[in-house]
Amino acid sequence: MLVAVPIALAGILPLPSPTETDLASRLLPPFSPGHLLGTDQLGRDLLSRLIWGGRISLTIGMLAMLVAGLVGTTLGAVAGYYRGWVDAVVSRAIEAQLSLPLLMLLLLMIAIFGSSIPIIILVLAIAQWPESARISRSLTLVETEKLYVTAARTTGTASLRIFVMHILPNIISRVLVVVLLLLSTSALLESSLSYLGLGVERPYPTWGRIIADGQQYVSSAWWLVVIPGLVISLLVLGVNLLGDGIRQKLTGQD
């Protein structure tokens, strides 16, 4: 929340421009007049850069989460419900992806197709879908065995109708928790890509890029590295705690 609210309000808040350089006020420490969190090596306001960067990082993270969640959940649930060859294909794909050097392949994709925002989202989604597919598959497997499904079958309810009307609503809340946690891994992965210089291109100030740029000044201007890192950690921690909290509520245990 602490992170999310200022980002949502970025357009309204009276902040200096994130890309306006002011060489006279380079590397100002936090709490300087006019620059609450200080400035970077080109005199750009850090707070403003963080907030604008957050808009990009969060948008990418959320879209990646949505795509991965949607694709993974659907594939997993279909595999768990219909079994047979669909299940075989999906399960093998999940297994294969978990045992292959995924990060290298993702870096390769970015090197080839460029680092536009849609490509980054796609790459993050590819990295994440097995997680949601696995959970929705196993939950569907358990749910399908339950008595009410058999009851619905014997009363002649259509197979697809059972799937959509009965099974999906029963698994969806627990799947959503896992999907929510994908946001935190998406955010971390996105910042890593930006740090490696393979994220969204300049002049967008993503969080990982701000840290990478600040790294060479870290001994004289610690805030350029420490503060953006704390912001990422805070966001991810918040999402993780939220996910854990919901899960505990759902299952009634830890």
């Binding site: 292959l100 990060l103 290298m104 870096l107 994709m109 090197a111 971390l188 890593s192 854990d244």
Partner: protein, 310 residues
């Protein structure tokens, strides 16, 4: 057992081959010209670049290139690195021990940190110690790995001067990156140890042992910890496989001379054979580690052995 192994192995090999082919096709779609990158665009004439392209077979049709790639692959020849001018296999292979060393040290630190903390948390479950360990673990898990690395380098390497900042110069170089990786794994492993111990403590087995007069101390160390071994081992094994593939970023920050760092460099210089060799070798390695983890159950858990021999 034999059939199971054979099936697993053949599937794994198929997956590796598919990956190799995908990488091959992806690389050929790349806009950049490796010959031009290698020679240096501004200095070389078109003739020189053309000669280099000919030498590397880049002027042949895609199908011809793929056929020679596969036949060479079967013969164990992964081609020559454009940049290093020697066998791509050897370039990767030389760096492999460094990555394995780093992953092994990281795994060792993870076990040394996470298992005792997990046991401590389980014994004090619900108390402040348990909550504190949980909170610390989840905090580390929420940090970007490159950021944690930079902070640790600043503190331990630059301020305290205990370790070198980057590169590889003796055993002390491996400690800081290994420690960084283990901090990131802490949450997962310690929570699994904790969960397993709490589950086992309430199991009929624990009750039976208590009824027989086994002391709490012996119950914990002799029986519960041992029985929690399988799930913990599974996680550690898959983590190890993931580390071999996934410490690219840590290797980059610490400039560690491993395969991950090599991958980033070869991507930048568009060194096709080197990228292919890298992906292929690390895939095979990861597949083998996952297989080894599965096999190890057979030796650790008598129940599995009985099931499979039947």
């Amino acid at each position: 057992m034999g059939w199971y192994l054979l099936r697993r192995l053949s599937f794994s090999l198929l997956a590796v081959l598919v990956v190799a082919s995908v990488v091959f096709v992806l690389l050929r779609l790349t806009p950049g010209d490796p010959a031009a990158t290698y020679v240096g665009l501004d200095v070389a004439s078109d003739d020189v670049i053309e000669a280099v392209r000919d030498k590397w077979g880049l002027n042949d049709s895609l199908l011809v290139q793929y056929r020679s790639f596969v036949t060479n692959l079967v013969r164990g020849d992964l081609g020559e690195s454009f940049v290093y001018g020697e066998s791509a296999f050897r370039v990767v292979f030389w760096r492999l021990p460094n990555t394995i060393l780093l992953a092994a040290v990281a795994l060792l630190f993870t076990v040394l940190l996470a298992v005792p903390l997990g046991i401590l948390a389980a014994r004090n479950s619900g108390k402040t110690i348990d909550n504190g360990i949980g909170a610390a673990a989840i905090t580390f898990q929420s940090m970007p790995e490159f950021w944690l690395s930079i902070i640790l380098i600043q503190f331990f390497a630059l301020r305290l001067g205990w370790f070198p900042t980057s590169g590889f110069s003796g055993w002390r170089s491996v400690i800081l990156p290994g420690f960084t990786v283990s901090l990131l794994q802490l949450a997962l492993v310690s929570q699994i140890v904790r969960r397993e111990l709490i589950r086992l403590e309430k199991s009929p087995m624990a009750d039976a042992l208590r009824a027989r007069g086994v002391s709490e101390r012996r119950l914990l160390w002799g029986h519960l910890v041992r029985n929690s071994g399988i799930p913990v081992l599974t996680v550690l094994g898959t983590r190890f496989a993931m580390m071999i593939n996934g410490i690219v970023i840590i290797e980059a920050v610490y400039n560690w001379p491993g395969v991950g760092n090599l991958a980033i460099q070869s991507l930048r210089s568009r060194d096709y054979p080197l990228i292919q060799a890298n992906v292929l070798i690390t895939s095979i390695l990861a597949v083998m580690i996952n297989l080894a983890v599965d096999l190890s159950y057979y030796f650790i858990d008598p129940r599995v052995r009985r099931q499979t021999s039947r």
